[in-house]
């Protein structure tokens, strides 16, 4: 019997069967694809976190312990690829005499590097001038001493005579914070800033100069073992990788019996990446779960569209003696066929689009497909079986007002969603809490409730609106449709009123699908926009020309750059260092009237004022200055307060006091570091210091031909400056925003959202109309013209489209706002507003309208053409 039923099902309703399997296939493909995204993005995050560490481990050799034995222990530790000893020594100060003046510095750090160190740890040292085959000084040290390659520096030693070295290069130490960490000390005991004065010596020279001191003052001369770890062997998940690395470091400490303390930079980087991994999971839930739910709802709607026919078949079988148990088995077989077919198609689709790379997720998706099929195919059919058995009228079910509507569930859900949103806002939407160094990580998943409840609530509200419009507002529907339906308008309004439950449900499905697509697309567009802003923030502009130390470029030097074809604007940006109390901060001198021509300043960069208001405040007085929030707190500043900074004078080369007035707070600024910095008027800074030197030229190309324009600029500036582009910055920015690579997820999500929206419209309308093709055939049989039949048949799709589209777009926009707010932690910097992906939105609506229109036309025309056959079959 089961086999006969199955064959009959395939023969008589192949479209319905395939459509239901198609719904399951969408859910399976989506879950498999998203799982694949999650796994690959986590692996990417681990690799990226590992790749951006300059020195994986800095193993401090304890005083009076043998560096050789520690080196041996580190070298033999599992996962160690390279281990080299590095000497650290403290110097009371450095001195250099250049251009007739002598400069002295305060305490300095001297490092002894083994041969090939710069090649082994390429991220630790960046050569700015000269080479590293001898004594090299850090950039700020070179600035403090006014030395360039070829100059000599005197290095003082505690209790020993000083020695002289000839500088062969000037370098930048990009990760000076971790390089000069106090190994093994807690975070609060770490130095506030890396040392200002650093000199790097070859290991042989270091040993010569400090061997004696190491014996007499071991507190001043120490050894670290710098280690490169095997990144390829790390677990793909950042949390697991963090646990593995921490375990390995602890193991080393135990094996060396306290002779070694591990500064686990790799572990720290992985520790930070755990937060990004959690955000990836959050994105998976936020963006994937609604899609899978929608696909399930779509399958349910498809199944429901054939409910009438199924009830008739069940009644017939019952009348012919089938038992409820036999009918239940048939229902389960149908669900199993739909689930298995959907699972296979879904995994096939995922494989074709290259989104089925994780077999655990593939299996989970297939099992989920079977469960969804059981839920949406078998459960309603089994429920119908009870109603058939009880002789309950299908019509009684059809016209009963849903319970949720009577209890106002839609309003309750929306209110709850807003309440959760408000509560999340009080917590500044911090969804992920990853305490530094602690293996556990907490994710505030309950914040998902806000958009989830709002999404469901808006869907139900859409249902209520459609229901109310069709029931109480049918005169309005009749009036509005009169231009298209003529005398039939009132009759059609009455017809829709009686079908309102089905029509409203279709409208809700279209609205939810569109809302999902709109919110996903808007979130992704905003995300991309912010990634672009992040890249521009890092690079400064489309193209930047950073002048070499000592180049002394003036604003006039921007003219040759401005003349390059493709350059739209060039803006000089001063870069100085200023002492705020004892704190050395970056100071940027700008022209507030013209800075916006070359770079984008977002409102989020400033605090308490918009970007344009902040620039206006800067313009308001020559000595105006914007400072960081941290500085405001540290120095208890109030707006308008006079502050004194120490800036280097061009003539005397000494730091002099310059007065400014604090006018506002700046959090981010193009090219500026993440920590404290200052922004002032360039003219005032130049006037006060006697130096108009430009640090960087910000170049706008309007976003076009960035690399070719950069190439031309390189040929113009030659060796006087280095040219960076926004394209380079995209690959370098390491914020949580970009470390979760959304590009694959975006493509997957947008494609599925479009598919679901089109399928929701097309399939639900098509199958629903197919169930009601009897009415179209009767209208044809009664002599209605082709035009009349088309308009008569199109009334339902038109209503569904109108309510579904309006409801979906408005819900989607609202959800986008909630999503972007709740996921604030993903963005860096936070977006000022939503970015509308107009092209996608237009395509989305067009595809939905086209799918609905096509489905309606096909069904109507088929019913019209086969009216004779259909009328005989009734």
């Amino acid at each position: 019997m089961i086999w006969l039923w199955l064959v009959g099902l395939v023969r008589r309703s192949p479209t319905r069967l395939l459509a239901a399997a198609g719904g399951i296939a969408i859910a399976v493909a989506l879950v498999a694809g998203l799982g694949s995204f999650l796994v690959s993005s986590q692996a990417t995050m681990t690799q990226r976190a590992a790749a951006q560490v300059a020195v994986d481990w800095q193993v401090q050799v304890a005083a009076h312990r043998s560096p050789g034995s520690v080196l041996k222990a580190v070298g033999s530790a599992p996962g160690t690829r390279t281990a080299v000893p590095v000497g650290f020594a403290d110097s009371p100060g450095l001195r250099a005499t250049t251009a007739g003046t002598t400069q002295d510095t305060g305490a300095a750090k001297v490092l002894g590097l083994p041969p090939g160190y710069a090649d082994t740890f390429p991220l630790a040292i960046r050569v700015l001038a000269g080479n590293v085959n001898g004594a090299v000084v850090a950039q700020q040290t070179a600035a403090n001493l006014h030395v360039t390659p070829g100059d000599r520096v005197r290095v003082a030693r505690a209790g020993l005579p000083p020695y002289w070295v000839k500088v062969v290069g000037v370098v930048e130490l990009p990760q000076a914070d971790s390089l000069f960490q106090r190994v093994g000390a807690p975070t609060q005991s770490q130095p506030v800033a890396p040392p200002d004065n650093v000199i790097l010596l070859p290991a042989s020279r270091f040993n010569t100069e400090y061997a004696g001191l190491a014996r007499t003052r071991p507190d001043l001369v120490t050894t670290q073992i710098h280690v490169v770890r095997d990144h390829a062997g790390l677990p793909s998940d950042p949390s697991s990788a963090f646990t593995a690395e921490t375990g390995a470091a602890n193991n080393l400490a135990v094996r060396t019996s306290g002779a070694a303390v591990v500064g686990n930079n790799l572990g720290a980087s992985l520790d930070a990446a755990r937060e990004d991994a959690s955000y990836a999971r959050i994105l998976f839930l936020f963006l994937g779960a609604p899609g899978a739910l929608l696909a399930a709802a779509l399958t349910a709607a498809i199944t429901q569209a054939g409910a009438g026919r199924r009830r008739k078949e069940q009644s017939l079988l019952r009348a012919r003696g089938s038992t409820p148990a036999q009918l239940l088995r048939l229902v389960l077989v149908e669900a199993a066929v739909v689930g298995a077919l959907g699972g296979l198609i879904g995994l096939g689709v995922a494989a074709v689009i290259g989104a089925a790379s994780s077999w655990p997720w593939d299996v989970a998706a297939a099992v989920a497909g079977l469960l969804v099929a059981a839920l949406v195919v078998a459960v309603p059919a089994a429920r119908d079986l009870r109603t058939v058995a009880a002789g309950e009228s299908a019509r009684a079910l059809q016209h009963t007002r849903p319970v949720w509507m009577r209890f106002g569930l839609d309003v309750v859900l929306i209110a709850l969603g807003l309440a959760v949103f408000w509560a999340s806002g009080r917590n500044k939407y911090s969804l992920v809490l990853a305490p530094e160094g602690v293996p556990t990580i907490s994710v505030s998943y309950w914040a998902f409730l806000a958009p989830a409840l709002a999404w469901l609530g808006c869907g139900l509200l859409c249902w209520r609106i459609a229901d109310t419009l069709l029931f109480r507002g049918r005169r309005v529907v009749a009036f509005a449709s009169r231009p298209f339906l003529g005398p039939l308008s009132q009759t059609v309004a009455s017809m829709l009123m009686r079908q309102r439950r089905l029509v409203s449900r279709s409208a809700v499905l279209v609205a939810l699908a569109l809302a999902f697509a709109v919110s996903t697309a808007t979130f992704n567009a905003t995300y991309r926009q912010q990634a672009e802003v992040d890249a521009q923030l890092t690079n400064g502009a489309d193209v930047t020309v950073t002048e070499s130390p000592g180049a002394n470029a003036t604003p006039a030097d921007g003219a040759p750059i401005a003349a390059v074809s493709g350059v739209q604007a060039v803006e000089p940006l001063q870069h100085r260092f200023a002492y705020v109390g004892n704190d050395l901060q970056d100071l940027y001198g700008i022209n507030p009237d013209t800075i916006s021509r070359a770079t984008t300043l977002q409102d989020a960069y400033f605090q308490g004022a918009t970007a344009s208001e902040s620039l206006a405040q800067l313009r308001s007085r020559p000595d105006a200055i914007l400072v960081s929030a941290e500085t405001v707190n540290d120095f208890q500043l109030n707006q308008g307060d006079l502050i004194r900074l120490r800036l280097q004078d061009a003539k005397t080369q000494t730091y002099k006091s310059v007065t400014f007035h604090y006018v506002g707070i700046v959090n981010e600024f193009p090219t500026a570091p993440k920590d404290s910095f200052l922004v002032a008027n360039a003219d005032y800074v130049a006037q006060q210091t006697g130096n108009a030197a430009v640090g960087t030229f910000l170049v706008s190309t309007g976003g076009n031909n960035v690399s070719s324009v950069a190439d031309q600029i390189r040929s113009v500036v030659g060796t006087t400056g280095s040219v960076g582009t926004i394209d380079d910055a995209r690959g370098l920015v390491g914020s949580s925003l970009t470390s979760v690579d959304l590009s694959k997820l975006t493509r997957l999500e947008l494609a599925f959202a479009l598919l679901i929206a089109a399928a929701a419209g097309g399939l639900v309308i098509g199958l629903g109309l197919a169930e009601r093709r009897q009415a179209i055939a009767i209208a044809t049989g009664l002599g209605a013209t082709r035009k009349q039949v088309r308009r008569f048949g199109s009334a339902e799709p038109a209503f569904v489209l109108l309510v579904g589209t309006l409801g979906g777009l408005s819900t989607g926009w609202g959800l986008s706002y909630l999503l972007v707010k709740v996921l604030t932690g993903v963005f860096d910097p936070a977006p000022t507003g939503l970015t509308a992906p107009w092209g996608y939105l237009v395509a989305l609506v067009a595809c939905t309208v086209a799918a609905v229109g096509l489905a309606a036309i096909v069904v109507i025309e088929r019913a019209r053409r086969h009216a004779r056959t259909l009328l005989r079959a009734i």
Binding site: R395, L782, T785, A867, R872
Partner: protein, 236 residues
């Protein structure tokens, strides 16, 4: 039960009683091509006048419904001809020329009985209020005025079929075709439907052709045409 007793239909002025409304001349209808071709109607020749009360009988699949649809203009013959001498074109798409009572329950499920009856009138361009009033009048005439606000699901098979007849009557056609109108009804309900059809045809002065495989139904009509394997045998 809201059904009221049917009022006797007053006779109205119609076409000349002997005027031929539809003439079939060796009309054939073949479905499919080649070896799959099925000849549903073969060389059928007949004529229907306003006086005609015809029972078209024959077993299932003999071609009754196809011939009925050909005469109603719902379908075209593949050979031979069918003409409607009174009109320049076929009666299809003009409910005031010919009305068809379909085989099964042919009411639009989500419309009330009155709206179903008014539907052909609305197609013709009558305003909603006028069409509904006329529909209620037709329902009253057939003694089922009380069913006007019910949807088909709330009607019995006989009631639904009488509403379908009322729908035909409301357009006041000159030709009424009924395709197995009692096929899904019990004897009593079937008799009532035939009563209504005969009264309506008399009232409108319309020709009536009823296809049926029920000899009792056929006996209530004036003439019986027999069909067998697509061949029509018209009684003299």
């Amino acid at each position: 039960m809201t059904t009221s007793a049917a009022r006797p239909l007053p006779s109205t002025h119609g076409p000349e009683l002997d005027e031929r409304l539809v003439v079939c001349d060796r009309a054939s209808r073949t479905f499919g091509h080649g070896s799959l071709a099925v000849v549903a109607v073969h060389d059928a020749s007949c004529a229907v006048t306003a006086r005609s009360r015809v029972a078209l009988v024959g077993p299932s699949g003999s071609g009754k419904s196809t011939l009925l649809q050909l005469m109603a203009g719902l379908d075209s013959p593949t050979s031979g001809s069918i003409v409607w001498p009174t009109w320049e074109t076929g009666p299809f798409q003009d409910p005031s020329r010919a009305g068809v009572v379909f085989q099964g329950l042919s009411l639009i499920p989500s419309l009330t009985a009155a709206e179903n009856v008014a539907f052909p009138l609305l197609i013709q361009g009558l305003s909603h209020d006028v069409a509904i009033a006329q529909a209620r009048e037709s329902l009253d005439l057939l003694g089922i005025g009380g069913l006007g606000d019910k949807v088909p699901e709330e009607l019995s098979g006989g009631q639904a079929q009488r509403v379908a007849v009322a729908r035909v009557v409301s357009s006041r056609p000159k030709l009424i075709f009924a395709d197995e109108p009692t096929g899904q009804l019990d004897r009593v309900s079937g008799d009532r439907v035939i009563d209504v059809l005969l009264d309506a045809a008399d009232h409108l002065g319309a020709g009536l052709v009823v296809s049926t495989h029920d000899a009792t139904v056929a006996a209530r009509l004036d003439v019986t045409w027999r069909m067998h394997d697509g061949e029509l045998v018209v009684a003299a």
